[in-house]
Structure formats: C-alpha cells, structure tokens
C-alpha cells in the first residue's frame, strides 16, 4: 500500500489523484494530501528517522513525495534553543526557541518550498513561481536554482529595493505589478489558472503546505519525542499554524509519540493585521478580512485562507490568539537578541511579544514546556530596530579618552558610558 492516498477536499472530503490541483471541483474547497497512516506506521520508527539526513527529508515518510528525486535545499533541522536567560526573565523553566532564522534563505519558507519544488519538477513543470513580498520569493528563487528550473516571482511594484535584492540575487524573472494588493492577488490567481507554471502556494499548495509539518516533527524529536505544552506560532494565512498541529497529531498516529499531543496552539499576530486574533476575541467562527497596517510585513495577510481552520484548532486545543502592537513587536525582537543572541525578523518579534502576553496573563505555568517559533531572520527587517539601537561610543585613539569615557556602575564594574 502506498503511503499517499491522494488529495482530499477539506470541506466535502471528495477524493482526487495526486495532481497539481488545489481546489475541489465539487465545492471549491481547498484540497489537502491524504495519507495511508497504516502504511506509514509500518515503515517508520524513531530509529529510522534518526538514521535519516539532517534536513527536512529526515521525515520523508510523512511528506507528500513518492519515488521522485528530491530537491535537497538543506532546509530544516534547525536548532531548538533552550532559552534559559529569557526564561529566567519571564519566570519560565522550560522555554525554547525554534530558530528558523538559519534556513538556506533565512526563513521557514524553505521547508514548504522544498516539497513544492520537488513535486513541481516531478510533475514536469519547467517554471516555478510565486507572488510574494519577501520570504516566499527568496525561497522559491533559490529552490528553483537548486532544482534547475526557471523561476518567476511576482511582487508589488512598490516593494523596497532591499527586499527585492533578497530574491533577485538568485536570478529569477521578477515581475513587478502595479495596482492594489487585491488586484495583484487576483491576477496571480488568473495566471496560475491559465499558464502551465507551478505556483508554490497556488496549484501545488497541497504539497507545499505539508512542509510546515516538519516544524512539529523536529520539535518533538528535539524534545525527546514529546509534544510541548504550548506552541506560539506567528500566523499569516494560518497554513503553518494548522500544519504544525497536524504534525504533532500525525506523530502520535504513526506511533512516534507515546501519548496524544496536548499542545495548546496559540496564534501570534500583529494588531495591525490580526484577523484571526480579532475573530477569536469576538468569539466568532468566521474570520473577517482586514486591510494590513503593520511593520510585520511577512504576516500581512488580510484574508487568511486557513483562518477558519486555525480558529477551530485554537479552540480545540485550549490555545489563544493575540494581536500585538508594533512597539511590542520591536521590544520582542530586542529582548530575544539581548537575552539569547537570536536576531528575529518582525514575525519572530510578534511571536515573542505574544508569549510575553501569555506569561503576563498567567496563562503559562512556570514548568510548562513552551516553544516559540521564530520563523525568519532579523536581517530581513533591519528597519524595525535600526532606530532603537544604542549608538557606539566614539573616542579618539588615546588611553586618556578611553578612560574618560568609563564610568562605574552600582556594582563597581567598569562600563563605557
């Protein structure tokens, strides 16, 4: 029996073969990869995983690939950092940071994109594409380079030059589209419909999305094959959030966890683009689309495709959803850098700030195992902290000038003023 059962509609459960399609023909619901978990359980063990490569393909048995050659981008298997300093500051003894700043293109997007490009090449596409303002574009362009495929990236025409550089360096074709965000959105949907190109998060989305499960698989393995008590996840479309929960559940289903996961899944959003957090606060079942206004650009999705499913998971798991201010985001970036030496982009700052809100609300017990997902590198959003950093002390090249700049703090140690 094959590990992969096909594609299935999340709404009406209609089944489809494994093709580059993402929409149910019957009800227009989203398609998801369906697995034969019995077949996977028979083929997988903690030992077989430990013998695997030190990348996302370690968990190949639970990923939607068959016999095709894998595009190995060396994504994944990122550090799970025990945050003793930050934990001490907050009164938590088991606080961890899942540090995805160190992926090949410096965000977690390398995970789902590696799966998408592998499947796209296997399906016979010669062009790999996406519409993105940042992390996804870089991941797609780099993965296409590794896969020997052409890359086309659609960006809003007003994107800053620095952001374009992060993707342009891998030499994709960049198409800058003028118009409102909604117009760019609709155009890309139409192009994906009309041209035989693999759009990472459109027509190969069911495969793409599965890559985020590795964020759960790795954390569980790194914790000694157990799920954490809390997972705090920066959330844009809701895809990563829903797949992390799915990942923990699948590990139990195939016998890799001894107990069902009881992780409380918390959505971390910016107040300036927090449609899921707003729906949660209202007690609503449906998410109302918003117009994004936040420094957390990588989370600026006003109409999250997985919003409904994310809300359900928050409530099922006893989690929470928070929208934090821009000031809290910047403070989150800085406190993480100051205490643990990790430089997160604004999305990571959102997650840290959300965790602080949970701690302040008494929602986390001191011995709870808490994992904060830091999904992108701070070098992607240097403008968020550029004005907040202490300037250097400037002295002339004499010992006298240096010693004049010294002051004694209360503890009697010498510090430079």
């Amino acid at each position: 029996m094959s590990r992969l059962a096909g594609l299935q509609c999340r709404e009406c459960e209609q089944r489809y073969p494994l093709q580059p399609i993402h929409v149910c023909e019957l009800c227009f619901g989203p398609l998801e990869v369906a697995y034969n978990y019995d077949a996977i359980r028979a083929a997988i063990s903690r030992a077989s995983i430990a013998a695997g490569p030190w990348t996302i393909w370690r968990y190949r048995a639970l990923l939607p690939v068959e016999d095709e050659p894998l595009v190995e981008t060396y994504a994944g298997c990122t550090p799970l950092v025990k945050a003793n300093n930050l934990g001490r500051l907050w009164g938590l003894r088991n606080l961890y940071i899942k540090n995805d700043t160190v992926n090949p293109t410096f965000s977690f997007k390398d995970r789902p994109v590696s799966i998408a490009v592998t499947r796209a090449r296997a399906f016979g596409f010669d062009t790999f594409a996406c519409a993105s303002t940042g992390n996804l574009a870089a991941a797609v362009a780099a993965a296409a380079a590794r896969a020997g495929m052409r890359a086309v990236v659609f960006i809003p025409a007003d994107l800053e030059a620095g952001k374009i550089l992060n993707s342009a360096v891998y030499a994709p074709t960049i198409v800058a589209v003028s118009g409102h965000y909604d117009d760019v959105n609709r155009l890309c949907s139409e192009i994906a419909e009309k041209y035989r190109w693999a759009f990472a998060n459109i027509n190969v989305r069911p495969y793409y999305a599965e890559g985020s499960k590795t964020l759960a698989f790795e954390v569980a393995e790194q914790l000694g094959w157990r799920a954490p008590d809390h997972a705090i996840v920066p959330t844009a479309s809701g895809s990563m959030f829903t797949k992390i929960w799915k990942g923990f559940q699948e590990l139990y289903q195939v016998g890799l966890l001894d107990e069902p996961p009881r992780t409380r899944m918390t959505v971390a959003q910016a107040a300036g683009c927090g449609p899921i957090a707003a729906a949660f606060a209202r007690g609503a079942r449906e998410v109302e689309p918003v117009k994004p206004h936040t420094i957390a650009k990588s989370l600026a999705i006003g109409n999250p495709a997985d919003g409904y499913y994310a809300l359900r998971i928050i409530r099922e798991t006893g989690g929470w959803a928070v929208g934090v201010s821009d000031a809290e985001i910047v403070e989150g970036i800085q406190v993480l850098a100051r205490t643990e030496g990790i430089f997160a982009e604004t999305a990571g700052g959102v997650a840290v700030a959300t965790a602080k809100r949970l701690v302040d609300a008494g929602y986390i017990a001191p011995d709870d195992t808490v994992v904060i997902y830091v999904t992108g590198n701070g070098l992607k959003t240097p403008e968020a902290v550029a004005d907040r950093l202490a300037p250097p002390v400037t002295i002339s090249a004499t010992m006298e000038a240096f010693e004049a700049a010294l002051v004694r703090d209360g503890a009697g140690a010498a510090v430079v003023a």
């Binding site: 929409v23 009800c27 992390n135 965000y181 890309c188 609503a284 449906e286």
Partner: protein, 80 residues
Amino acid sequence: MAKQRVKLTFPPELITQPVIYNMGRQFDVVTNIRRANVTREQGWVILELSGEQPEIERAIAWAIDQGVRVDPIEGDIVAG
C-alpha cells in the same frame, strides 16, 4: 468563454440584498454557487462566474462598488 472562481464576502447590511441575482441581471455572467454561509457578522459565497473575461471583470468591479469584498477562493496569495 472564461471562468473565474471567487469568494464574495458581504458586510451585515448587504446580507439580505439579492446582490448575486442583480449581478446576473445586469451583466452577461452566469453565477454558479458552490458554498455559502451567513452569520450575524458577515455572509460569504463561493461561486464561479462564467462569461467573457471583460464582462466578468465588470461584474466584479460592480460588486466591489456595492460594498462586497471579492477575493480569489484561495484567499490572499501574495505571501510574505
């Protein structure tokens, strides 16, 4: 002949208005509904519009002008 699949989201004040019926009357498009839901706060309908592409675009522009959100069924595709 073109087809476009969209999600229309209605604010509370438009939920009881026959927007889709009026769209079909005013524009040469066929509206084919697949899923829908109405709550106190919003209504949404997922449907396929069929017709000539320019006419579909005019129908969508009209709906937006009425106060309806029109999005691809995939939600926001332009990712971070």
